[in-house]
Amino acid sequence: MKRSKISEAVGNISEKYIEEAAQYRPKSRRGIIAASAAAAAVLILAVTAALLPLSKQLNPAVSKSDTDTHYSAEAEDIIRINRDDLSMAVADMDIIIEWYDINDLSDEVKDSFENRVGMAWTDFAARIPEGYTAEKMWSYLSRWDENGVRREEYSPFDYRFDISNPSGGRINMAVCGVSEPLRDCIIKCSGASPSRIDGVKMYIYEVGGTYYTIFQGNGIWYDIEAQLSISELTEFIKALI
């Protein structure tokens, strides 16, 4: 087909799409777990447990003033672990879980991953630091979209990975490019102190030896639950960012 005809056919496409592309701005989103609670509550169907005072029930050894501040070798990084005055809501989610063989992903799964995460699968896999192994991958399919609109069909909302390292560290990580990933537990903490890693602000919580954080790096939302040392966690996050 002649170039002029291609140009003409494309040139006449609907104005609504031209307007959409002209006005498009990548979404900016909030990056704290406490704030995510409200958004997550829209997406989940029912909260089945009352708020639990975790600092007393799950982590009784934590002292009242137990918000640590560590400064890393790079002066600009600030690591603060919030352990006190936490509460957690556990939720049932109306989701379907699909499992994938991480070593044999179909083009369809890769396309879907890229659509939701905003990054090609190969680019993403390259970000997992050396020494860490992604053992399992699955997707949460939800009928709710990131705007809280309910659809008839379930479709992938976010992608999740079980990751381990040789020293026995374990990470459960969810990623999504359009919204914070869905959570089946919501941490609340008043007066939490933020950390900053490679310029990215995030809130890190520790409950029962597991670190929890949500942050956005390169336009992707990461939701991490990690049983690692804090230095391992910091290095892992830096690799993602």
């Binding site: 087909m1 002649k2 170039r3 002029s4 005809k5 291609i6 140009s7 003409e8 056919a9 494309v10 040139g11 006449n12 496409i13 609907s14 104005e15 609504k16 799409y17 031209i18 307007e19 959409e20 592309a21 002209a22 006005q23 498009y24 990548p26 396309d111 890229e114 659509n115 905003g118 990054m119 090609a120 680019d123 359009v178 390169n218 336009g219």
Partner: protein
């Protein structure tokens, strides 16, 4: 200065105030220039086309009362710029627009195909099946003629991601057009 609302600009055109062109240029000048520059790869030609487009808006508003104004102005700029591009093609090529058209040619109907309006309808239908982000990537590349770098910048994605996505969108477009009965 605060950006003027579209309806204020249109009111100025209706009043036949010369300030209308100033405000239009203030708000949309950069966007119009980028569209025209992408197609023509010539600052001088692009400026002329954008000025011609402003004149086009002046001559058509009123009676037209475009809503949205962005798409209306952009389309006039694009039409004038592509007309200039086709006129110049024999002497001068190598714009971003050439590269974009070459990519798209892979999944377009055979050379003897004449039904441009049918193809536009199929494209509209296809665009409706894409995610918003993929649709914007497609439009920025093939309608606005943005370079890959410009799309990358606009979408806050990596260049590789944009390449891969465009490639997959084109592949899906081929499948869509075949299903719609086009001979590729």
């Amino acid at each position: 200065m605060t950006e003027v609302e579209d309806n204020m600009i249109i009111s100025l055109f209706f009043e036949r105030s010369e300030e209308a062109i100033e405000r239009l240029d203030e708000k949309y000048g950069a966007l119009c220039m980028s569209i025209s520059r992408n197609i023509l790869k010539s600052e001088e030609d692009a400026k002329e086309c954008v000025n011609d487009a402003y004149l086009g808006v002046w001559n058509t508003v009123p009676p037209q009362n475009p809503n949205p104004l962005t798409a209306y102005v952009c389309r006039i700029v694009r039409n004038i710029s592509t007309a200039r591009y086709h006129k110049n093609t024999a002497q001068r090529r190598n714009s971003f627009y050439d590269a974009a058209l070459d990519e798209l040619a892979e999944c377009m109907p055979s050379p003897d195909f004449k039904g441009v309006s049918e193809l536009t309808s199929a494209l509209n239908c296809f665009l409706g099946t894409l995610s918003r982000e993929n649709r914007v990537i497609f439009i920025r590349r093939y309608w606005f003629g943005d370079s890959i770098d410009a799309v990358t910048d606009k979408m806050k994605l990596t260049a590789n991601t944009v390449y891969v996505r465009l490639s997959r969108i084109r592949r899906r477009l081929c499948e869509h057009l075949r299903k719609e009965g086009f001979s590729l």
